[in-house]
């Protein structure tokens, strides 16, 4: 017996064969745990029905006349007006409504061309100011030097009430960066009034000075 005290004791891990049934149960248990972990992960990633959420812009809400502070600029929608006829190209006419939204853009840290603007209606339809008709081209502004540019967007009449303006840095890629979401405060009254209006709205050119308020504009 005294030998046992001084002699190196044998293996320090189980040396006894586990009974077959127990081994099978252990394997099965491990398998169930792995499947449960995978199922839990799947449930978490799909629970919110938001597979594209990682790509969404960081939306910063604001209202008309208030500066919205984004990573790259402070954006203020200084007003909103509408008509069926606007000034570019000797006059653009629509069977819907033209919205004209003058912006004040003050970039931060480095010069930027804040190039994306769109109007989203209450049904989620997005009207981007990117083409020959709906327009927005503010140009590059030095940080701290205000830039004034107008967003011109053509909408169907039923998209006017409750419409929001969305402004972001990159016209092609708005993912994972700040985006202003400005409630334009429009109702059915404006929609009907502007859809019936036929006088030509002047769309101011982008400039470093604030545009003259157009006569009869509603802000």
């Amino acid at each position: 017996v005294s030998d046992d005290v001084t002699r190196q004791v044998g293996p320090t891990w189980p040396t006894l064969a586990m009974p077959l049934r127990r081994r099978v149960a252990r394997r099965a248990g491990a398998g169930v745990l792995i499947i449960a972990a995978l199922a839990a992960g799947r449930a978490v990633t799909t629970a919110y029905d938001d597979d594209t959420g990682l790509d969404d812009p960081f939306v910063v809400a604001g209202s008309l006349g208030e500066p919205v502070s984004l990573r790259y600029a402070d954006i203020t929608a200084t007003g909103v007006d509408g008509s069926t006829l606007v000034s570019p190209d000797l006059g653009l006419r629509t069977t819907g409504v033209w919205l004209v939204i003058p912006l004040k853009i003050v970039t931060k840290g480095e010069p930027a061309d804040v190039r994306y603007a769109a109007v989203e209606d209450t049904r989620g339809r997005v009207y981007v100011a990117n083409g020959d008709r709906s327009q927005y081209q503010p140009g590059v502004a030095q940080p701290g030097v205000p830039r004034y540019a107008s967003v011109l967007v053509e909408l169907p009449v039923d998209a006017v009430a409750g419409a929001h303006l969305r402004v972001a840095l990159d016209s092609l890629d708005q993912r994972r960066d700040d985006m202003a979401d400005i409630d334009l405060g429009l109702t059915e009254v404006e929609a009907r009034t502007w859809a019936a209006r036929t006088d030509k709205l002047q769309v101011p050119e982008p400039a470093s000075t604030p545009p003259e308020p157009a006569p009869g504009s509603t802000t």
Partner: protein, 215 residues
């Protein structure tokens, strides 16, 4: 009850012991996973900003050493640059027309002396002035009038452009008339009137840049 069963009960290894190598490997695996998924940190963040300065003070020559890549591969980009002055300006670079400045802004002319091999394509540079907080005001060509598109080469003799492979067919790539071996530029930058310029930065391929402190 055999002796083996007793020995086993006494010396049964603990959870730590059985999982020791797994525990050691866990932080290593985590670090490897983070490193493997971090290529975009370099691509979209590090290489997109002014990160690696090469510094000199106003009046001193800076030996700027970097590389540029064109369709022929990577080449050395080596030149000497000296900041001579940052002074108030009333006209654009190469212009006699008074600047139409926005309210609350001013204009400064950044005078630089440069020396480089006439065969080096340099026109694709960017120039900016910064204040003490690091806010950057860049050279813009449209400020009231229009300025030359490159702020760092002589407007009339900009020198060659980088090789563009197939696109160079039928294009004059000689860079003639040749750029002189040394020259001066004084591009004009607009900025808010209250801003004090603390340094001038000049760069080609990010993240390397020349930082020339004022004063």
């Amino acid at each position: 009850v055999t002796a083996a069963v007793i020995r086993h009960a006494i010396h049964r290894p603990g959870w730590m012991r059985r999982n020791w190598w797994g525990l050691v490997a866990l932080p290593v695996a985590l670090a490897a996973a983070l490193a493997a998924s971090s290529d975009r940190v370099k691509l979209y963040f590090w290489d997109e900003g002014l990160r690696e300065p090469q510094r000199a003070a106003q009046g001193d020559w800076l030996d700027f050493r970097h590389t540029y890549t064109d369709s022929e591969g990577e080449h050395p980009l080596e030149l000497r640059v000296r900041l001579d002055s940052v002074a108030p300006a009333t006209t654009g670079w190469n212009s006699t027309t008074p600047l139409d400045l926005a309210p609350g802004t001013k204009a400064v002319a950044v005078s630089l002396s440069l020396e480089a091999d006439p065969g080096l394509p340099l026109a694709g540079c960017k120039l900016a002035v910064r204040d003490a907080a690091g806010t950057r005001y860049e050279y813009l060509t449209e400020i009231g009038g229009s300025q030359p598109y490159s702020p760092c080469v002589p407007p009339d003799t900009p020198g060659p452009s980088p090789a563009l492979g197939e696109l160079d067919k039928g294009r004059d790539t000689s860079g003639e008339p040749a750029r002189p071996a040394s020259w001066e530029v004084s591009p004009v930058i607009t900025l808010p009137a209250g801003v004090e310029v603390s340094d001038v930065v000049l760069w080609w391929d990010l993240p390397d840049y020349a930082e020339l402190s004022v004063g």
